[in-house]
């Protein structure tokens, strides 16, 4: 039982990380109907900058984190301003491909700049820190992950509901032309969405790096696991991203924890594909996800 609770705790924490990364996807998708394939590499650049700042330049973690966030926000804003703004009205195929282009560039720059070796991740916690409750070890990093996610979601809720810019973003997502007619600068909304998404995703990446202790150039693939999370929750639903993330995190960690007890025929690495299997199942039954808006298409 303690083992199960331990897995549930770890799964919830990992799910929160997927939720944060997924939030990045859905904020951009909601604002501009673009799936940002380069999200994972924004996260990669961010975690490498934070790791370098702490390990090589000996900055305190709390100074390194904003530096990493700043770098990815700037990359996100530049890409939005210089490239994506020219792509408004182009087919989704083209826009997806162009974010793949950015993905390749960022990943290669990380390999060129830092090498393809594994490097230790920056962490403000000692590995063993935390406390035990009823035989379950609650690690500091996991507790912080849960706390940060809850606070961030509350802040986002407040932002979208009760602030000027949050309202502008929701209006743009609902009807771009009506928003324009109401005097909302839609271009600023796009920029805001990209900046916000880059920062939230990077935060998720840094938390994941703390959890996994080390990073390498494949670290950005974590964002691909957030795909099932947002599809599960519904692409355009912000709360769906959180629920989807937690479900994916739980199933993935529970599968990993019990994999050795399954029959030998399942082999190894099943937990890496369970998120995708769940996603395909959801897409077959409910293609708009659990919380997504059901688009009516009539011809």
């Amino acid at each position: 039982m303690a083992y199960f609770l331990q897995l549930v705790f770890a799964g919830a924490a990992q799910g929160c990380i997927y939720a944060l990364i997924g939030l990045g996807f859905s904020i951009i998708f909601k604002a501009s109907q673009v799936i940002n394939f380069a999200q994972g590499e924004l996260l990669l650049v961010g975690t490498y900058v934070v790791a370098s700042a702490v390990l090589n330049w000996h900055l305190p973690f709390l100074l390194a984190l904003p530096l990493g966030l700043l770098v990815t926000i700037v990359i996100g804003l530049l890409f939005e301003r210089l490239v994506l703004r020219r792509m408004i009205g182009r087919p989704p195929f083209t826009v997806l491909m162009i974010t793949i282009g950015l993905d390749i560039i960022l990943r290669t720059l990380v390999i060129v700049g830092w090498g393809s070796r594994t490097i230790p991740a920056a962490t403000p916690f000692a590995i063993t820190s935390g406390f035990n409750v009823a035989g379950v070890h609650l690690g500091s990093s996991d507790l912080w992950t849960l706390g940060v996610t809850v606070v961030l979601c509350a802040a986002l809720y407040y932002f979208f509901r009760h602030t000027r810019y949050g309202l502008a973003m929701r209006a743009t997502a609902l009807d771009q032309e009506a928003a324009l007619a109401m005097g909302i600068d839609v271009r600023n909304v796009y920029a805001l969405a990209w900046g916000l998404a880059a920062a939230i995703t990077t935060l998720g990446g840094v938390l994941l790096a703390i959890d996994s202790l080390a990073i390498d150039p494949n670290f950005g693939n974590a964002a691909l696991v957030a795909f099932p999370a947002i599809i599960l929750g519904g692409l355009d639903s912000v709360s769906g991203a959180v629920v989807g993330g937690v479900i994916i995190g739980l199933t993935s960690v529970l599968t990993a924890g019990y994999e050795s007890r399954l029959p030998a025929v399942v082999g190894t690495g099943l937990h890496e594909v369970t998120p995708y299997l769940i996603m395909i199942l959801i897409l077959m039954i409910r293609p708009y996800g659990l919380f997504g808006s059901r688009k009516v298409e009539r011809v």
């Binding site: 087919p91 195929f93 795909f227 399942v266 890496e272 395909i280 298409e297 011809v299």
Partner: protein, 417 residues
């Protein structure tokens, strides 16, 4: 039948501006001239090139077959796919299972020892069959969703390939069969009609034949009624459906044919590489082919070949001339990194400024050449796309591909088949 014919259509057709020349397969003098230059260049390369160059070119030609496969699905039909690596892997392991040696060791886990003219087509057929099984559920999804599902396919495939040890050899990989025709095994020097040929030259001939067949097939398909239906689906799904195109049939056809070509390319790759690990069939392999079709040219046979050459041969050429220090894993610019940076950048530049790719640029700069192909606006937004810019271009494009009077008889035959 892909499209239905109504009696009123012929009148409509005559009112449309006819800009495209009537199609000729190698019609004009200039084309014969170019063909001659091409054959001469091939012959010169074949007799003069070193083994290293054959290795570079052979891999590149195999990649060109897979690029054609992706172009058929994504370029001509507009269906985003990141799953090409999965179908290539299927082809590769079918080749291994049918053509491999009988169990000999950990690197030769299983094999029926069948000849190449069975396992090479079978590799394509198995990939096509799996494509036909997955297609009906995957193709219900559009745009991004299809892209993400095919991405999932790569990861699920990777899990299967790593665990089906008796076929794939597990994580440490396995050996693959060498094509052999009668007594001639392609990994040895053989003399054919009195001419001694190296292993690289023999592979070159085999791969070139398969590439030529694939290219001719895709080229002819694209100019047929089916090809026009594919482009119509890409440019505007709703519009195509209204014109009587069966969306499901066209998408399924493209998906299955693309899987077939990918399977054949995968089988050729493994039989040339001789040894492959399951991790080779990764997402980044799929993405390289996406880069190849965008840089070379969307919906273009020559574009596919140029794109494959750029993405898959350039790093080897840079290494051959030792232009950059070898990769050490400790950072610094290696040939592969330089190439990745270049094609990442070129994807963005081409999509922004010349969506037709290199071949679009060439065709546009050539005086009197046909207009460049353009990407469609896609139909996922439904009625909303009507408001957006660029729509009129797509309609013109559709009209261009309506058959001229001379072409009608031949094309309706293709449509009925």
């Amino acid at each position: 039948m892909i499209a239905t014919k109504e009696p009123g259509r012929s009148r409509l057709r005559q009112e449309l501006p006819r800009e495209a020349e009537p199609p000729h397969l190698l019609g004009s003098l200039a084309r014969w001239l170019w063909l001659g230059v091409g054959v001469l260049a091939l012959l010169l390369f074949f007799s003069l090139a070193s083994d290293d160059w054959f290795t570079i070119v052979n891999y590149c030609l195999i990649a060109a077959i897979a690029t054609l496969a992706l172009n058929l699905l994504s370029g001509y039909t507009g269906q985003i796919s990141l799953g090409l690596a999965f179908f290539m892997g299927l082809g590769g392991y079918t080749a291994a299972l049918l053509g491999g040696n009988p169990p000999a060791g950990p690197l030769d886990p299983w094999g029926l020892g069948l000849p190449v003219f069975i396992w090479l087509p079978a590799a394509g057929l198995v990939a096509a069959l799996v494509g036909a099984l997955i297609g009906p559920s995957a193709l219900r999804l559009r745009g991004f969703y299809l892209g993400i599902v095919t991405l999932a396919l790569v990861f699920i495939g990777n899990y299967l390939f790593r665990n089906l040890n008796f076929i794939t050899g597990g994580p440490q990989g396995r050996n693959f069969p060498v094509p052999a025709f009668g007594g001639f095994s392609l990994d040895q020097q053989n003399s054919i009609l009195g001419v001694a040929l190296t292993s690289g030259q023999q592979y070159f001939l085999l791969i070139l034949v398969v590439l030529l067949l694939s290219a001719l097939f895709v080229y002819n398909l694209s100019r047929s009624r089916v090809g026009r239906a594919m482009r119509a689906v890409r440019d505007h799904e709703v519009g195509a459906a209204i014109m009587g195109v069966n969306l499901f049939e066209v998408k399924m056809g493209a998906f299955v044919l693309s899987s077939f070509l990918a399977g054949v390319a995968g089988a050729l790759y493994v039989s040339y590489a001789r040894y492959v690990i399951p991790d080779y069939w990764s997402l980044s392999l799929s993405i390289q082919f996406v880069a190849a079709i965008i840089i070379g040219g969307i919906a273009d046979v020559w574009g596919s070949i140029l794109g494959a050459a750029f993405v898959f041969a350039l790093p080897q050429v840079i290494d051959y001339f030792s232009l950059l220090p070898p990769s050490t894993g400790g950072g610094g610019l290696s040939s592969g990194d330089l190439n990745a940076l270049l094609y990442g950048l070129l994807i963005i530049v081409f999509l922004l400024f010349e969506p037709g790719g290199v071949i679009g640029l060439v065709r546009r700069l050539r005086p009197g050449g046909p207009r460049p192909q353009r990407l469609g606006t896609g139909a996922s937004a439904g009625a909303a796309t009507v408001k957006e810019g660029g729509e009129s271009i797509e309609v013109v494009d559709l009209q261009q591909h309506l058959p001229g009077p001379g072409e009608e008889r031949g094309s309706s035959g293709t449509g009925a088949s």
